[in-house]
Structures are given as C-alpha cells and as structure tokens.
C-alpha cells in the first residue's frame, strides 16, 4: 500500500494545454503539500493545505490551482501550460501542522511533467 500516491507518474503535453496531477495519502495526515523540483534539482514548496484549507501559497503563477476535496487528497491543476512548467512535481503529507515541526513529511514518487 503506497502511503502517498501521485498520478500520473509521467505527463507529456503541449504548450497551452490544461492538465491535472492527483495526489492521495492514506496516512491519516492533516497536512499536504506540493513541491516542485526544477531542472537545477531545487525542491521548492508551492502550496500547503491543512484539513482542506490553504495555509501556504508561495509565489506561484495563478495558472496553478490546488484543490483539496478532503484532507486525504490534494490535486494540482495547471492552466495554459508553459515550457518552464516542465519539472518533477512532488506531493507530500505530514501529521504536523506548521509550527509543530517538520520531521514527518512523507513524499510521493513524483510526477515528471514535460511541456513541449
């Protein structure tokens, strides 16, 4: 049983398209995250949700919209895809809420998005 699962694992799409990446965790965690690993291998936080509420929203273009239908799911929708959106996107979850420490992040295996 995968603790944090992301689909799809690979996504190749043309510029201008809209796509979604889904994430589900079965750990009972309250907090979920989206991280982006760019071509320089830099892992950077994009969003964080706690119990379906947005708590962290870094400087990310409005074309990126997270949606959390329940605390076990955090999906990422991207509109009007651009070449620079090509990256690996990681979903993660943790039992702690911000301010309580950050040792319990469990990551998914990543979604490699390629925009052509």
């Amino acid at each position: 049983d995968t603790a944090v699962s992301q689909t799809p694992k690979y996504l190749v799409t043309q510029m201008g398209n809209d796509k979604s990446i889904k994430c589900e965790q079965n750990l009972g965690h309250d907090t979920m995250y989206w991280y982006k690993q760019d071509s320089k291998k830099f892992l950077k936080i994009m969003f964080s949700y706690n119990n379906k509420e947005l708590i962290i929203n870094e400087t990310v273009p409005n074309r990126f919209s997270p949606k959390s239908p329940d605390k076990a799911h955090l999906n990422l929708h991207i509109n009007s895809l651009e070449l620079g959106d090509s990256a690996v996107y990681f979903c993660a979850s943790s039992a702690q809420t911000p301010g309580q420490g950050a040792s319990g992040y469990t990551f998914g295996s990543g979604t490699r998005l390629t925009v052509v």
């Binding site: 892992l43 420490g101 992040y105 295996s109």
Partner: protein, 111 residues
C-alpha cells in the same frame, strides 16, 4: 535567494569508509534540520533530523552534526554501504513548518 545550500553536487566514497555530506544555511530563524535520501524515480524519504537545541543526533550508521554559529550541518555515514548510493537533500524549517530544501548531493559508494 537560496537559504539552504549544498555546495557539493556529488561525492564518491569507498565502501566501508566514512561519507560526509555538508550543508550550509543562511536563515537564522531555522530551528529544525533534516536530511532526506532520494533514489531515482522515487520521492525523498526522511533519514534523520536535529533540533537547534542540540549539536548532534545519531541513528545507527547516520549522525547529523549542527554548528549553529557557523550555520552549518553535516551528515556522517559510517560505514558507507552500496545501498547508501542516492541523492541526499538537506532541509530546514523555521516555526512556520514548511521545509526549505538544498539542491542535493549525489553520493556514490564505490564497492
């Protein structure tokens, strides 16, 4: 502005010897530090952490050292094993809880 830096993109170590991975940070508000290990096509997995109130934490073959005055931490793996070959990310958090990652160091253990 990269607040967590791993200046060595790669490191090769003979099996059985000590591996030392280094990490520097600039944000003095960071109070919790972690190391993650990542295999290809997998997400990062938590390895070991240290709070800013300590200067050392040990877990089996893995030890993390924190030097707050130098804003430096290191991960020691001894003895190094082939299965330790992976990319290692240093991460830090302040009270806000979000993790800020370094760019990673690729460790290769030579049999």
């Amino acid at each position: 502005d990269q607040q967590v830096k791993q200046n060595s993109p790669s490191l090769s170590v003979q099996e059985g010897r000590i591996s030392i991975l280094n990490c520097d940070y600039t944000n003095s508000m960071f109070d919790y530090f972690l190391w993650y290990k990542k295999y290809p096509a997998e997400g990062p997995t938590f390895l070991i952490s240290i709070s800013s109130i300590k200067d050392k934490n040990e877990d089996g073959r893995f030890t993390v050292f924190l030097n707050k005055s130098a804003k430096h931490l290191s991960l020691h793996i001894v003895p190094s094993q082939p299965g330790d070959s992976a990319v290692y990310f240093c991460a830090a958090s302040a009270r806000a809880g979000k993790l800020t990652f370094g760019t990673g160091t690729r460790l290769t253990i030579i049999p």
